[in-house]
Amino acid sequence: MNIVVCIKQVPDVTEADLKINKDGDDIVKDDLEMVINEWDNYAVEEAVRIKERHGGKIIVVTLGDEDSEDILRRALAMGADEAIRIDEEGFEGSDAKGISLALYHAIRDLDFDLILTGAQSSDVAWGQVGVLLAQMLNIPYATLAMGIEIREEKAVVKRELESNMFERVELSLPALITIQTGINEPRYVSIMGIRRVRRLKIEEKDMDDLEISQDSVGSSGSIIESKRVSFPLEGEGAEILTGSMDEICERLTQIIREKGGM
């Protein structure tokens, strides 16, 4: 059972004070810590668990700059066997189709039975790359997986639907599955684990290696362009308290009292 996992590096925004850049089309990422996209982390864990049960090897693929080697090493430490980085140069500003195309070219000649991707990424949240990739490879796919069982030449996938409902679908292999968070509990990756894989070679590919022309990817190849990002507007009933800690606390308790919360 050979598995390819597509992963992506994203900024960690959980506790950060976000700022929007000058052009207003993205957030300022300089001070942000870069991490593996949460959904992809579950995908790598799921791949490792499938490998532990059925054997085979895992190849992780990412499209990104040199810094994104960190998440590849992390995946190697979790139990992946090989890693490929598609260099980001020329791909900047790609829409989902551009990214899928890059992955398609990197993956199509690999020997695989299963491709796992995160259901979406936390930064742009398109949720399209996995599906587009499956279309390009012309293989069956299932989205939002909350459980995968491999039976002979088939994958039985438990899909998460709305209102606490699940659907069970069967795919013949090779297939692509997009992973929902919560499908498993991803293991902890220790510093020693990462240190142990620091010498493993990461294969690098660029646009030319993948025989992709510039007009099909990047901003020029995109049909979608990010125009503006913004914070939610302050609406009715929302108030941001300012001042010293004591003042904020005082005002807060006052509001809670006024609204009958105490």
């Binding site: 506790e15 001070d31 810590e33 509990e185 991803p186 293991r187 902890y188 220790s190 510093i191 020693m192």
Partner: protein
């Protein structure tokens, strides 16, 4: 006739005795070998040197079992009688054998003395055994967990002692020697039997006694009696200072000889359970049970179910080691287990993963960015060593919690103010200050600990820092005890700020002029007190303030109760049960009648402060850091 004992009197068939002795000694050594083979994987890793302190400890804590008396005199007397009774009789048997096979010397007066002494040893053994029985099955002392083995061992030894006396009595009854009264117990028993019965029953009793004794010998390595052999090793190895093997040189299961011997020789006396703060508030954690489970899995190869989640309860407070008669340190073994769980990765609780990832990303466990690390010092005009031209300044190592937690920041501000008032030159590392590695190390993330240590050391080197004073006892412990264990030639002088305050008072640089009429109590932080032996410095600082009355809590100094914030517990509220460790502690402080509980650790400060709120004691007791108290006392001068 010269007083002496005829060996094998009235025993016509002696050869089965030799055969059985051989078998029992063979089984004994076979069992011993199994233990040694179990320790083997730890022997190479363990540093073993000839240490005078080790030998001294073996005599005092082993042969005289001094630590058993601690807090339980009855147990001390029981064990001492049991041990000396057993050991004395064992020596007596050896003397008898020497007398029989080598040189005959047990005759005349020496024999009478010998005979009489053995009577005493026999009585001591019986006294010890009866007390043990009473403590376990009549008094039912809570910390003693009774397993079948415990009962068998007592009864077995008791039977040996009784048949021994019986045997003597029967012999005296038949032989009626003139010196019979010297064997006073045997003499009394002898009165019961007629000469004829004595002659007839003697061989039966003799064989019973022999079989019981020989089987006991062979059972030693297979029962808790093995502690006779293992305890001295555990006691001796305690003198070897902390040893840390770089994470890179470890793979999979990693235990030092010390760890393996300790879990092997634990007799489950339960003192550690009794003092464990986690167990004390009803959490499902018991140091003894974890050790026993480990022994069952690793040594006895029993496939015991074990919830790996349990190892995260330990606050590493060290109370267990403090009370263990043979210096077993469950918290160290648990730390090793954590390290193995971390490297495996698959069973680490999600909340722990969050803490560790945060610690890695932000270099602090508080979800606060590196930029905010020196925010407390804003407008305080404190030298930033990384920006100043001056080299060799004393470095105030603030630490993560003191830097980022709003309440704990008061420690940094108060302490800096005190130093300024005393005219002490110092600096901080500002934004560049890394985490010292305490949390990573406690949680078993040794790779991260080493990285953080290297970060600290390279900063110290870059800015020629030689002297460090810390706010947290945790940074203090890590830098004072763990860095040197990993780094050869480590020569930094690290002190905790309470020690600096104490010496400032001694030197007359810190003076209190006005009285501060307050009743206070002092909470010993585990990592300052138990782990570093600093009990008096903070107390001396408190007592130096005129007008202050210091009242001690029930648990103080080395018996102090953990606030529940150490060992990573600060960031795992999920493990808390209805009563929190900090709440138990604040109640104890409150019960002293003190107005303020003083501590000198940022974690203790936060934990106790929270407990004060949840226990609704805000009106009746305050929590203050030592630095805050001192600053308050000097500020009095101005008012």
């Amino acid at each position: 006739m010269i007083p002496q004992r005829e060996i094998f009197w009235n025993i016509p068939w002696v050869w089965p005795f030799y055969l059985l002795s051989f078998i029992s000694v063979f089984i004994f050594f076979y069992g011993l070998l199994k233990h040694i083979l179990f320790w083997k994987e730890g022997i190479k890793k363990q540093r073993i040197r000839l240490l005078l302190k080790g030998i001294k400890d073996v005599v005092i804590d082993g042969i005289f079992a001094k630590r058993i008396f601690k807090g339980d005199i009855s147990a001390g007397i029981m064990h001492l009688s049991l041990f000396w009774g057993f050991f004395g009789l064992f020596l007596g048997t050896i003397l008898l054998a020497l007398d029989h096979y080598l040189i005959s010397f047990l005759k005349g007066k020496p024999y009478l003395l010998f005979s009489c002494t053995l009577e005493l040893f026999g009585l001591m053994l019986i006294y010890g055994l009866v007390t043990a029985f009473v403590r376990r099955y009549i008094q039912r002392i809570k910390r003693l967990e009774n397993k079948t083995e415990d009962l068998i061992v007592i009864l077995w030894l008791l039977l040996i002692a009784i048949t021994g006396f019986l045997l003597e009595g029967v012999r005296v009854a038949y032989q009626v020697p003139a010196w019979g009264k010297w064997s006073f117990v045997g003499f009394i028993i002898g009165n019961i039997f007629s000469r004829q019965t004595a002659l007839e029953i003697y061989p039966f009793i003799w064989w019973t006694h022999v079989l019981l004794s020989l089987s006991l010998i062979s059972a030693i390595p297979f029962s808790k009696l093995f502690h006779i052999m293992g305890s001295p090793i555990s006691i001796y190895l305690n003198s070897e200072p902390l040893q840390i093997t770089p994470a890179e040189d470890r793979e999979g299961r990693f235990f030092y000889l010390k760890d393996l011997v300790q879990l092997d020789v634990c007799t489950r006396c339960g003192r550690c359970v009794e003092v464990c703060p986690s167990n004390g508030v009803g959490e499902p954690f018991s140091p003894r049970d974890i050790l026993f489970m480990l022994k069952e899995r690793l040594f006895l190869h029993r496939d015991k179910e074990f919830d790996p989640g349990l190892i995260w309860y330990c606050t590493t407070c060290g109370a267990c080691l403090e009370v263990c008669p043979i210096y077993v340190a469950p918290f160290r073994i648990i730390r090793q287990l954590r390290s193995q769980e971390i490297e495996d990765g698959t069973r680490v609780p999600p909340i722990m993963i969050q803490t560790l990832e945060r610690l890695y990303k932000y270099n602090n466990p508080w979800l606060s960015t590196k930029k905010k690390r020196a925010e407390w010092a804003k407008d305080m005009d404190i030298t930033n060593i990384t920006k100043a031209k001056e080299r060799g300044l004393m470095c105030y190592f603030v630490g993560c919690t003191t830097s980022h937690d709003i309440r704990a920041q008061e420690i940094a501000r108060s302490f800096s103010n005190i130093l300024k008032r005393c005219g002490i030159r110092f600096g901080i590392l500002g934004k560049k200050e890394p985490c010292c590695g305490d949390i990573a190390r406690r949680l078993g993330e040794d790779g991260l600990f080493e990285d953080q240590m290297e970060d600290c050391l390279s900063l110290f080197e870059e800015y020629e820092i030689k002297e460090i004073v810390t706010s947290s006892p945790h940074c203090f412990y890590t830098m004072r005890q763990e860095y040197p264990a990993l780094k050869k030639g480590y020569a930094l002088s690290v002190i905790h700020y309470s020690m600096l305050l104490e010496s400032l008072i001694k030197d007359g640089k810190l003076r209190f002029e006005k009285e501060l009429r307050l009743k206070v109590t002092y909470h010993d932080p585990c990592y300052l007190g138990r782990h570093n032996g600093i009990f008096d410095a903070p107390r001396n600082v408190i007592k130096a303030i005129p007008g202050i009355e210091l009242i001690e809590m029930e648990h103080n100094r080395e018996n102090s109760l953990c606030c529940g914030g150490g060992g990573g517990r600060m960031w795992q509220e999920e493990l808390d049960v209805e009563l929190k460790m900090s709440e138990r502690r604040i109640m104890e402080a409150h019960n002293t009648g003190a107005e303020i509980v003083i501590t000198c650790c940022p974690l203790c400060l936060i934990m106790l402060e929270d407990a004060r709120k949840t226990k609704e004691l805000e009106g009746s007791i305050k929590v203050m850091d030592l630095s805050e108290l001192v600053l308050m006392a000097i500020n009095r001068r101005r008012s």
